[in-house]
Amino acid sequence: MGNILSPKNAIVVKLQSEIFNPGDESNQFIKQADGGGAAVTFTGLVRSLADNPIKKMTLEHYPALAQKQLENMAQTALERFGLIKVKVIHRYGAMYPNEPIVQVMSLSAHRQAAFDGANFIMDWLKTDAPFWKFEEGENGAEWVAAKTVDDNAKDKWK
Protein backbone atom coordinates (compact mmCIF):
# COMPACT_ATOMS: atom_id res chain seq x y z
CA MET A 1 0.00 0.00 0.00
CA GLY A 2 1.57 3.23 -1.21
CA ASN A 3 5.17 2.35 -0.53
CA ILE A 4 6.34 4.55 -3.38
CA LEU A 5 4.82 7.61 -1.73
CA SER A 6 6.08 6.90 1.75
CA PRO A 7 9.80 6.68 2.32
CA LYS A 8 11.15 4.84 5.33
CA ASN A 9 10.32 6.48 8.64
CA ALA A 10 7.57 8.60 7.11
CA ILE A 11 5.21 6.63 9.34
CA VAL A 12 5.94 5.54 12.88
CA VAL A 13 3.35 3.87 15.10
CA LYS A 14 4.31 2.99 18.64
CA LEU A 15 2.20 1.07 21.14
CA GLN A 16 3.61 1.15 24.64
CA SER A 17 2.56 0.81 28.26
CA GLU A 18 5.21 3.23 29.56
CA ILE A 19 4.38 6.88 30.03
CA PHE A 20 5.94 9.27 27.48
CA ASN A 21 6.94 12.92 27.56
CA PRO A 22 4.71 14.81 25.09
CA GLY A 23 7.08 17.74 24.58
CA ASP A 24 10.15 15.57 24.14
CA GLU A 25 8.29 13.52 21.55
CA SER A 26 7.26 16.67 19.67
CA ASN A 27 10.80 18.02 19.71
CA GLN A 28 12.16 14.72 18.47
CA PHE A 29 9.55 14.69 15.71
CA ILE A 30 10.28 18.19 14.36
CA LYS A 31 14.05 17.96 14.78
CA GLN A 32 14.40 16.65 11.25
CA ALA A 33 11.91 18.92 9.59
CA ASP A 34 12.96 17.99 6.04
CA GLY A 35 11.55 21.14 4.52
CA GLY A 36 8.31 20.96 6.47
CA GLY A 37 7.18 24.26 7.91
CA ALA A 38 4.07 23.15 9.76
CA ALA A 39 3.83 20.67 12.62
CA VAL A 40 0.67 19.70 14.48
CA THR A 41 0.63 17.67 17.67
CA PHE A 42 -2.50 16.28 19.27
CA THR A 43 -2.12 15.00 22.82
CA GLY A 44 -4.91 13.15 24.59
CA LEU A 45 -4.74 13.19 28.40
CA VAL A 46 -6.45 11.14 31.10
CA ARG A 47 -9.27 13.39 32.29
CA SER A 48 -10.47 13.52 35.83
CA LEU A 49 -13.48 15.76 36.26
CA ALA A 50 -14.65 17.30 39.52
CA ASP A 51 -18.06 15.62 39.29
CA ASN A 52 -16.57 12.21 38.47
CA PRO A 53 -13.01 11.93 39.78
CA ILE A 54 -10.98 9.12 38.27
CA LYS A 55 -8.25 7.36 40.17
CA LYS A 56 -6.98 5.07 37.47
CA MET A 57 -7.67 4.24 33.87
CA THR A 58 -6.76 0.96 32.22
CA LEU A 59 -6.61 0.64 28.46
CA GLU A 60 -7.13 -2.81 27.07
CA HIS A 61 -6.09 -3.35 23.46
CA TYR A 62 -5.85 -5.92 20.70
CA PRO A 63 -2.17 -5.53 19.88
CA ALA A 64 -1.88 -6.90 16.35
CA LEU A 65 -5.04 -5.18 15.09
CA ALA A 66 -4.22 -1.92 16.87
CA GLN A 67 -0.81 -1.72 15.24
CA LYS A 68 -2.25 -2.52 11.84
CA GLN A 69 -5.17 -0.09 12.08
CA LEU A 70 -3.01 2.81 13.26
CA GLU A 71 -0.47 2.17 10.51
CA ASN A 72 -3.26 2.13 7.94
CA MET A 73 -4.72 5.39 9.26
CA ALA A 74 -1.30 7.06 9.29
CA GLN A 75 -0.57 5.87 5.76
CA THR A 76 -3.94 7.06 4.49
CA ALA A 77 -3.44 10.48 6.09
CA LEU A 78 0.10 10.73 4.70
CA GLU A 79 -1.10 10.14 1.15
CA ARG A 80 -4.39 12.00 1.32
CA PHE A 81 -2.96 15.19 2.77
CA GLY A 82 0.51 14.98 1.25
CA LEU A 83 2.24 14.94 4.62
CA ILE A 84 5.98 14.64 5.06
CA LYS A 85 5.70 12.37 8.07
CA VAL A 86 3.39 11.10 10.78
CA LYS A 87 3.97 9.59 14.19
CA VAL A 88 1.38 8.00 16.46
CA ILE A 89 2.05 6.92 20.04
CA HIS A 90 -0.71 5.11 21.91
CA ARG A 91 -0.41 3.69 25.39
CA TYR A 92 -2.12 0.65 26.87
CA GLY A 93 -2.32 -0.65 30.42
CA ALA A 94 -2.67 1.42 33.60
CA MET A 95 -2.50 5.21 33.60
CA TYR A 96 -3.46 8.07 35.88
CA PRO A 97 -5.09 11.53 35.68
CA ASN A 98 -3.30 14.08 33.49
CA GLU A 99 -0.98 11.48 32.00
CA PRO A 100 -0.82 11.36 28.21
CA ILE A 101 -2.72 8.50 26.56
CA VAL A 102 -2.14 9.20 22.90
CA GLN A 103 -0.14 11.57 20.74
CA VAL A 104 -0.52 12.11 17.01
CA MET A 105 2.04 14.26 15.19
CA SER A 106 2.02 15.40 11.59
CA LEU A 107 4.54 17.41 9.61
CA SER A 108 3.75 19.10 6.33
CA ALA A 109 4.81 21.91 4.04
CA HIS A 110 1.43 23.55 4.63
CA ARG A 111 -0.48 24.16 7.84
CA GLN A 112 -3.91 22.98 6.74
CA ALA A 113 -2.55 19.60 5.68
CA ALA A 114 -0.83 19.21 9.05
CA PHE A 115 -4.05 20.06 10.93
CA ASP A 116 -6.17 17.80 8.73
CA GLY A 117 -3.75 14.89 8.94
CA ALA A 118 -3.71 14.79 12.74
CA ASN A 119 -7.45 15.46 12.97
CA PHE A 120 -8.24 12.70 10.45
CA ILE A 121 -6.15 10.15 12.33
CA MET A 122 -7.76 11.05 15.67
CA ASP A 123 -11.27 10.77 14.24
CA TRP A 124 -10.59 7.33 12.83
CA LEU A 125 -8.62 6.19 15.83
CA LYS A 126 -11.57 6.87 18.14
CA THR A 127 -13.83 4.37 16.40
CA ASP A 128 -11.56 2.00 14.49
CA ALA A 129 -8.52 1.37 16.68
CA PRO A 130 -9.11 -1.51 19.11
CA PHE A 131 -8.64 0.09 22.52
CA TRP A 132 -11.09 0.02 25.41
CA LYS A 133 -11.03 2.29 28.43
CA PHE A 134 -11.80 1.01 31.91
CA GLU A 135 -12.09 3.74 34.53
CA GLU A 136 -11.84 3.35 38.28
CA GLY A 137 -13.02 6.28 40.35
CA GLU A 138 -14.68 7.24 43.57
CA ASN A 139 -18.07 6.38 42.13
CA GLY A 140 -17.04 2.86 41.13
CA ALA A 141 -15.43 1.22 38.13
CA GLU A 142 -16.76 0.87 34.59
CA TRP A 143 -16.01 0.39 30.94
CA VAL A 144 -16.28 3.71 29.12
CA ALA A 145 -19.15 3.74 26.64
CA ALA A 146 -18.52 4.69 23.03
CA LYS A 147 -19.98 8.01 21.90
CA THR A 148 -22.21 8.59 18.91
CA VAL A 149 -20.37 11.87 18.33
CA ASP A 150 -17.24 9.83 17.65
CA ASP A 151 -19.03 7.75 15.04
CA ASN A 152 -20.17 10.90 13.30
CA ALA A 153 -16.82 12.71 13.43
CA LYS A 154 -15.49 10.56 10.60
CA ASP A 155 -18.19 11.78 8.24
CA LYS A 156 -16.38 15.02 7.56
CA TRP A 157 -13.61 13.15 5.72
CA LYS A 158 -15.99 11.47 3.24
Binding site: A66, H90, L125, P130, F131, W132, W143
Partner: protein, 83 residues
Protein backbone atom coordinates in the same frame (compact mmCIF):
# COMPACT_ATOMS: atom_id res chain seq x y z
CA UNK B 1 -10.62 -21.57 14.88
CA UNK B 2 -9.37 -19.21 17.55
CA UNK B 3 -11.93 -16.77 18.95
CA UNK B 4 -10.80 -13.75 21.02
CA UNK B 5 -12.84 -11.60 23.39
CA UNK B 6 -11.98 -8.13 24.64
CA UNK B 7 -13.13 -5.62 27.28
CA UNK B 8 -16.53 -6.31 28.87
CA UNK B 9 -17.13 -9.22 26.52
CA UNK B 10 -14.03 -10.88 27.93
CA UNK B 11 -15.17 -10.10 31.47
CA UNK B 12 -18.69 -11.42 31.01
CA UNK B 13 -17.42 -14.60 29.39
CA UNK B 14 -14.74 -14.89 32.03
CA UNK B 15 -12.15 -15.83 29.43
CA UNK B 16 -10.08 -14.13 26.76
CA UNK B 17 -10.25 -16.79 24.08
CA UNK B 18 -11.72 -20.03 22.84
CA UNK B 19 -10.59 -22.65 20.40
CA UNK B 20 -13.47 -24.06 18.37
CA UNK B 21 -14.10 -26.72 15.76
CA UNK B 22 -17.06 -25.15 14.02
CA UNK B 23 -19.85 -27.10 12.34
CA UNK B 24 -20.07 -26.52 8.58
CA UNK B 25 -23.27 -24.47 8.83
CA UNK B 26 -21.46 -21.68 10.73
CA UNK B 27 -20.16 -19.61 7.83
CA UNK B 28 -20.23 -15.96 8.87
CA UNK B 29 -19.75 -13.72 11.92
CA UNK B 30 -23.44 -13.55 12.72
CA UNK B 31 -23.83 -17.31 12.67
CA UNK B 32 -20.76 -17.66 14.86
CA UNK B 33 -22.30 -15.34 17.45
CA UNK B 34 -25.47 -17.41 17.45
CA UNK B 35 -23.55 -20.66 17.69
CA UNK B 36 -21.42 -19.47 20.63
CA UNK B 37 -24.51 -18.10 22.39
CA UNK B 38 -26.41 -21.35 21.94
CA UNK B 39 -23.70 -23.32 23.70
CA UNK B 40 -23.05 -21.00 26.64
CA UNK B 41 -25.36 -19.09 28.93
CA UNK B 42 -22.81 -16.39 29.74
CA UNK B 43 -22.22 -15.88 26.04
CA UNK B 44 -25.94 -15.70 25.36
CA UNK B 45 -26.16 -12.74 27.77
CA UNK B 46 -22.94 -11.09 26.62
CA UNK B 47 -23.89 -11.26 22.93
CA UNK B 48 -27.58 -10.40 23.51
CA UNK B 49 -27.39 -6.95 21.90
CA UNK B 50 -25.66 -7.55 18.58
CA UNK B 51 -25.54 -3.83 17.89
CA UNK B 52 -22.86 -3.59 20.56
CA UNK B 53 -20.72 -6.33 19.10
CA UNK B 54 -17.84 -5.46 16.78
CA UNK B 55 -15.83 -8.15 15.01
CA UNK B 56 -12.48 -8.65 13.35
CA UNK B 57 -11.60 -11.61 11.15
CA UNK B 58 -7.89 -12.33 10.76
CA UNK B 59 -7.09 -8.80 11.96
CA UNK B 60 -9.52 -6.99 9.73
CA UNK B 61 -12.57 -5.12 11.00
CA UNK B 62 -15.67 -6.64 9.39
CA UNK B 63 -19.47 -6.50 9.38
CA UNK B 64 -21.53 -9.35 10.82
CA UNK B 65 -22.28 -10.84 7.42
CA UNK B 66 -18.57 -11.37 6.74
CA UNK B 67 -17.60 -14.88 5.69
CA UNK B 68 -15.42 -16.75 8.19
CA UNK B 69 -14.88 -20.01 6.35
CA UNK B 70 -11.15 -20.77 6.54
CA UNK B 71 -10.41 -17.90 8.93
CA UNK B 72 -7.81 -18.49 11.62
CA UNK B 73 -8.90 -15.90 14.18
CA UNK B 74 -12.15 -14.12 14.90
CA UNK B 75 -12.19 -11.40 17.56
CA UNK B 76 -15.27 -9.97 19.30
CA UNK B 77 -15.34 -6.72 21.22
CA UNK B 78 -17.50 -3.71 22.17
CA UNK B 79 -17.36 -0.39 20.26
CA UNK B 80 -13.85 1.01 20.60
CA UNK B 81 -13.01 3.80 23.03
CA UNK B 82 -9.33 4.60 22.52
CA UNK B 83 -7.66 7.93 21.99
Amino acid sequence: MKVLYFAWLRERLNRGEDEFDLPQNVTNVDELIDWISANDEAAELAFADKNLIRAAVDEQLVEHDFNIVGAKTVAFFPPMTGG
